[in-house]
Subunit: 310 residues, 2 copies
Amino acid sequence: MPRISEIGERALIEDFMTFIRPEGLIGPGDDAAVLGKDTVVTTDIVTFDRHFPAGMSYEQFGWYAAAVNFSDLAAMGARPTGFLAALALPPDLEAQAAYDIMSGIDQCCEFCGTGIAGGDTKFGSGIVAGTAIGSMDGRKPMTRSGANPGDIVAVTGPIGGPAAGFLSLELGVEMEDARQSLYVPVPRVAEGMALASSGVVTSCMDLSDGLGTALNGICSHSHVGIDVEFDFIPRGEGVEEMAQASGRDVQDLLLYWGGEYELLFTADKDRFRKLYEMEVEFSIIGMVHDGDHPDLIREGSRSRIGHGSY
Amino acid sequence: MPRISEIGERALIEDFMTFIRPEGLIGPGDDAAVLGKDTVVTTDIVTFDRHFPAGMSYEQFGWYAAAVNFSDLAAMGARPTGFLAALALPPDLEAQAAYDIMSGIDQCCEFCGTGIAGGDTKFGSGIVAGTAIGSMDGRKPMTRSGANPGDIVAVTGPIGGPAAGFLSLELGVEMEDARQSLYVPVPRVAEGMALASSGVVTSCMDLSDGLGTALNGICSHSHVGIDVEFDFIPRGEGVEEMAQASGRDVQDLLLYWGGEYELLFTADKDRFRKLYEMEVEFSIIGMVHDGDHPDLIREGSRSRIGHGSY
C-alpha cells in the first residue's frame, strides 16, 4: 500500500471524491460549495512549510491564510459573512507570532467586510485551516461550467506579479511591488460580487493555481476551447525583468505559476459591455470556441496551454 | 516573549479574543456562531497527538473529527447542512489510513443527515480541522446564557463512559462498551434540534470538556448557580468498575473528564414536561438557583464543582 507522499495531495483528494457523498448545490470540485439556496462555504489549508516565502511576516501569513479562502468565495460571487480560523502551531512558536497571524487574519476579514466567527487553536506543525462562509444574497453563483463558444475571456488584473516576487527572492533582487503581490494577495471579493450581479458572466474561477490551470479548468468543466492572445495578458510589476534575469520565458511566469488571486471569467460577447458600467476593472485576454482545450496565440502561432506545476 | 507552549492553547485563544473583531449574532465563545438569521458555523481541530487513544482505528478518528463539530451544532439546536474537512497528514502515512479517515468523516456526516461540502488535504503533522455548517430552520438558537433560577438541569444521556473507556485502556481491562463511547461519540444532533424546537429549553451546552466545565460555563454565562444531585447523574457503562479499579472517586469520572458528547441543558420548570412528548431522552440532574457557581450535593453535603482538566 503506498504512502500518501507517493500519491500526492491532489491525487489523494481525487481519490476521496470517488467515495464520499458530496453535499451542496454545486459541491466540492468548484471553488466553493453552495449549501441550501444561498450559503457558500470553502476551506483551504496553508502551511509554514509551503506558503511562507522568505521575507513574509507572520501577519502577512495570516492575511494570506484568509485571502486564499475569500478568493474562492469571490470566484463564486459571494459576499463574505464570516471566517473560521483553525490554527495548529508549533509549541515553541513565540506568542507574538501567533498574535500576528491572528491579527493578519482579522485584517483580511475586515478588508473583505466580515469578521472572525470562530476558531480553534492546537499545537501542530504550523498550519492554518481557514473556512470562509458567504452569502449569494440572491445572486446566481458563478461556476466553472457555464462558458459558451463566442464568449469573451477576461481577467480582473495583472498576472505574474507573485511569480516575479518569488524570483526576486531567489535572485536576491529588490522588487517591492512584486513581493507585495506575493505576500499580500488581494482577494477580488468586490469584483466577484459585481461580476455575479451583472448577469452577463458565464463562468468564473480564481487563479490560485495559476492562469494555465484555471484556463484548463474552465475548458474541461464547460466543454469548450479557449484561445488566449499572449499580448493581451496584462503583466504584473517586474514580470519582464524577472523573466529576463532568471532566463525564463515571460509566458512561463504568466501561465504556470500559482499564488495569483485575480479572477478569470467568461462573459456573453453581446452583453459583456454591461461590465463597463460596473465598478470592476478587467482585461480581455481571449475568446471561447467550440474546441476542448486552451491554446496560446503568440506571434501568429498556436501552442497548447498546460496545467501549472505550482 | 513567551512561547505558546508556556501560554497554553486555551489562554492563547482567550488572548486572541481580546483583539479580533468577532462576527455573528452569538459569536465565538458559545459552542457555535450564528451568521445572518439562520446559518450556524463551528470549527474544531483534532490531532493524532491528542485525540487518538490506543486501539482507535483511523476510521473512528475520522468519525471523531466530524462528531466533535456536529456536537457543537447540536448544542445550538442546528440541523447540519454540510461539513468541510481540512486534513494535514504526515507524508509517510499509508494511503489506506487517509481513505479510512475520510470514510469515517463521511459516515458521521451521513449519521447527521448531511455530507461533505468541501475540503483540503496537505502534508502536515496529523490534523483534521473540521468545520460544520448548520441551519436553524427558524428555531431560536440555544445558548449558554439563558438559564434562570428555578429551571431544571438535565443531560441527554449517561456520563463517564469515555472516562471509563480511557481508564480501561490504561489498566488493560477489556471494556468494549466504554471504549466504544470513547472511540465513536454520538453527536446529539436530533436531540439538540428537538430541544431547540420545544421552546422550553433556556440554555444548552455540549459536554466535550466535561460536565464540570459545562456546568461552570452555564453558571458564568447565565449568572446563576446550579445544585447537582450526585445520585441523579446517569452513569455510563463501566464507570463504577473503572473508578474502583483505578482508585478514583466516581465523581471524578462523572465531572472532570472530557470527551463526552451528551448535551447539558436547562429548561423552564413549569413547562419542561413538554419534552416528554418529544423524541428526546433526558435525565434531570439538578436545579438552577440564584447563586453564581455549581455545587454537587452528595449524601447531604455540598461541594463546589470545578472545571475539568481535560
